[in-house]
Assembly symmetry: C2
Homo-oligomer: 197 residues x 2
Amino acid sequence: MAKRRKVGNLLALAVLSALMERPMHPYEMASVLRERGKDQDMRIKWGSLYTVVGNLEKHGLVAATESVRQGGRPERTVYRLTDAGRAELVDWVSELLATPEPEQPRFAAALSVMATLPPAEATRLLRERLATLRAELISDEQALAGTARQVPRLFLVEDEYALAMRRAEADWLAALVDELTAGTFPGLDGWQRFHSG
Amino acid sequence: MAKRRKVGNLLALAVLSALMERPMHPYEMASVLRERGKDQDMRIKWGSLYTVVGNLEKHGLVAATESVRQGGRPERTVYRLTDAGRAELVDWVSELLATPEPEQPRFAAALSVMATLPPAEATRLLRERLATLRAELISDEQALAGTARQVPRLFLVEDEYALAMRRAEADWLAALVDELTAGTFPGLDGWQRFHSG
DNA sequence: ATCCGTATACTCGTAGACGAATATCCGGAA
DNA sequence: TTCCGGATATTCGTCTACGAGTATACGGAT
């Protein structure tokens, strides 16, 4: 289903949305994104930024407006959103919002090969994860509560979502660890034997 | 924190784990992975498979054992896991299990630019997502219950995890949609006005 | 007056990811 | 017997992602 975008990198989505506000040059986009805390959602890759902006231009989704030389600094090219770009943004967001796509988190990959470790070791590691997760959860909750006093909630939904998912992961993980610890997880003995023999 | 792996692609993890069982040639790995249902977790990219195996060999994590020409078929190179490869696998799984890393699901990106759509439209799309999500949830639950009768639970933890996360997403989403529908989401009027004016 | 750390702004080379093409074999239908 | 479609196995070339490097300017400390 998921349509093939001319520029598929999610960084392009961020760029387009930044340009909704006003024309900017690439470096400025990065700054704006960082200030908005988007850098946590998607760590800004400098190499990609310029490639992505270039591709967006090539496909007519953004257009260069001017090349200003301010002081003696390197020349900056300012880009603005085209009509096609605006349309692409709307279309893309709509698709992303409406269509759940199967994500493949790294942790799932790890679980799928968990059997390569002996059960005791796996349990120990999972317990470690759970502890870290809970600690992060607490500080993230506080951080969110803090920014919620300054930023309207509309711009924090992503964080609320992320937090909810983390909480769910912690809950699920706690249940698994309990089963492993109590020995009620089925097949534990076979798993153990596989690693002893 | 996350150590830089010689071969970072998660497909490499799957390859290493497949080779734990017995030596194989690349195409066979793909088949085995597919049969185990891993192809859902990570859609097999043929281009990557051979690159990844090649890189694993270059770094001494796997080694070619023989090149068999069976019948007149193209020559197949069979690879086995080296000691270094086994160690890498254990180390990698351990890290992935123990260390929660900030994932950046596409949906989070979508939420972060949701404001570019008018609230009514966003709500409509989210409702659509919720419906799809719930439908998928039901069929996935049944599918899992089905395979659970044939495969030991140890090899289904990833699926249980995926399912739990989906459920959590659906719950969170339902709550959000309710707020939007009831009009109790704060700042709804400002959001609307931004798009009318 | 000069030094230097930090912010600004971008370029480039390379490693990796992946789609699509290629080539051969086998079994069954015509 | 011959033809064809699907399974077997891999190669190739392109396109992308990104780290690391480069170069200048500004402001405060020395």
